[in-house]
Amino acid sequence: MTTQPPTYQLLNQQQEGATLVFSGDWIQGQHPPGFVAAQADLGGVHPTRLIADGASLSKWDSVLMAFLLQCHDYCKVENIPFNVRNMPNGIEQLLAVASAVDAHQPAAESTPSWLSSLDPRHLLREVADHFRESLAFSGEVTIALARLARGKANTRFRDFRDFCFQAGPHAFGIISLTSVLVGMILGYLGAVQLKQFGAEVYVANLVVIGMLREMGVLMTAVVMAGRTGAAYAAQLGTMQTNEEIDAITTMGISPVEFLVLPRMLALIVIMPLLTIYADLLGIVGGGIVAGGMGITPVQYIIQGQTALSFTHVAVGLLKALVFATLIAIAGCRAGINSGRSSAAVGQAATNAVVTAIVYLIVADAAINILFQQLHL
């Protein structure tokens, strides 16, 4: 059977009103005329009633139904009767079902243009909102910590232990790789410059101080923000979607005590340990580069020892504690405040990582300036 082009004809009889006669194949791929054209025709006629006639229609699918539904809606707006006749089986029934419920009128929302998102006031408001939210969350965490200190918090040790395991041993591989490489990068950077003064051996000082005070802890924190912080946001966001957080709240348990504290404390315990591990491997990495420059391992170790001091180690560990808290807060805050859809969980994870890294850099700079002023 050959296909006939789908079309309609508008017949206007004064008494009977207008009749739309459909013919041809109203199916996909045939591209039948849209209702906009028909509406223009009807507008010129001003019929008293409208009849859709399907006597010469051969094939049809949803595209015809969509057309008929628009006819029905048009007649409703114009307040004239609409009928179908000679239509294939099912059409009348489908039309009855489709028109049974009036269309919902969504509340008119003014969609802001994308330019307004660049408005400095808008940006400022966003930053202020974020700041307020983070402050409120930190406050809740502080209260929960106080309750924990008095032994009243609903924090389970088992959760804490599991999170320690997830954050710590599972991160060894990636921490090993990044810290050895960062140590080597520091080594190269120093060696090339120091060679000009014939002072290659001081590469050991540079690597030891650089790793202990700065790079070891910062690289560990960046890895943990991407690995653990994002995981926390995704876990808590999914729990929010599943109404698990609602369930916890209605059981009379504080979600911050039950969900946030074990994660945060685990990170606070694990981060300093990972930092020490990263420092050691970084120094080994620097040693490999130094070896390539003709410095013997013994020379490297003895020279490195002269740079080693308790202050450097302590500064690194202090940063580790601060960074751990910030990563956990950024991750858990994003998760707890996540929306209830899969897209929102993804946003929460992104948000967690971005915020954590901004926090890290700002905190690192602040701590460095502080210690500079204190001559430490």
């Binding site: 595209v63 539904l69 099912g90 489709a98 419920v101 009036d102 919902h104 969504p106």
Partner: protein, 261 residues
């Protein structure tokens, strides 16, 4: 909507065994679903109803047996053939399965864009029509999370019928709905099914739904781990030789419904 093998049953399930690894959930399942049937898969919680449906949809591979659609084996079909067969299906999932990152209109547009030759303007009109069919006209720009559970179920139905399917699969369509919404959804399913001439396969244990709309059914028992009844549920309620089935359908307290993990 043309059919080739009109004399063949729409779906034939032949000697199917359902198993997760070593543990057999159901075995020796054989039944036919005829064109135009509203077929219900029933049984107590954990008997493998949803698992059977997932096998029929090819989401879980069969451990043995065969499933034929219009006389063609789905199991032995190539991936391409399976894809073509799947385009004749519309499916709603237990928890909706709507894409939460997309609006209702985008949810319904996706299959139309992928599998049809409609133009963008036609698709927009068809989306409006499909939403009107399920009573959600005007909700195009809403996200699934912004509408109620009952509306989500209906939106999922709108997406399932986007491609004018010949077979509609429902996994617990009325779970979590109040009795009135549940009845309205049943009526909607019947109306849509009748006017589109589709076959409906439904997993449910809602007795009112079963009696209101089903004309054929299979009962999966979780003690003997096979089907113990097959036929119109109204007949089974009165005349089944299996006490368990009569008790299930009359909601007797004595019904042995054992939960399995």
């Amino acid at each position: 909507m043309t059919d080739t093998n009109t004399d063949k049953p729409e779906i034939e399930v032949r000697d199917v065994t359902l198993a997760y690894g070593e543990s057999v959930i159901q075995s020796n399942l054989s039944f036919n679903i005829n064109r135009g049937d509203i077929f219900v898969i029933m049984g107590g919680s954990g008997c493998g109803k949803s698992t059977l449906l997932k096998h029929m949809l090819g989401l879980i591979p069969l451990s043995s047996g065969d499933i034929l659609y219009s006389g063609t084996s789905f199991i032995r079909a190539s991936e391409q053939q399976q894809g073509a067969m799947r385009q004749r299906w519309g499916i709603t999932y237990q928890s909706g399965g709507l894409f939460s990152a997309m609006t209702l209109a985008e949810n319904i547009t996706l299959p139309l864009e992928l599998y049809t030759r409609y133009t963008a303007a036609e698709i927009a009109d068809i989306v409006a029509y499909k939403l009107a069919l399920v009573g959600l006209a005007g909700y195009q720009s809403y996200y699934p999370s912004e509408i109620s559970g009952g509306m989500q179920k209906r939106a999922a139905l709108a997406r399932a019928i986007a491609l004018d399917p010949e077979i509609l699969f429902f996994d617990e369509p009325s779970a979590g709905l109040d009795p009135i919404s549940s009845r309205l959804l049943d009526e909607l399913i019947v109306q849509i099914k009748e006017s589109m001439g589709a076959t409906v396969v439904m997993v449910t244990h809602e007795l009112p739904s079963i009696f209101a709309i089903a004309n054929n059914s299979v009962y999966l028992d979780n003690i003997s781990r096979t089907m113990i009844a097959y036929g119109n549920p109204k007949d089974l309620r009165e005349h089944s030789d299996q006490a368990v089935v009569r008790q299930f359908l009359t909601r007797s307290a004595a019904a042995v419904i054992e939960d399995k993990p």
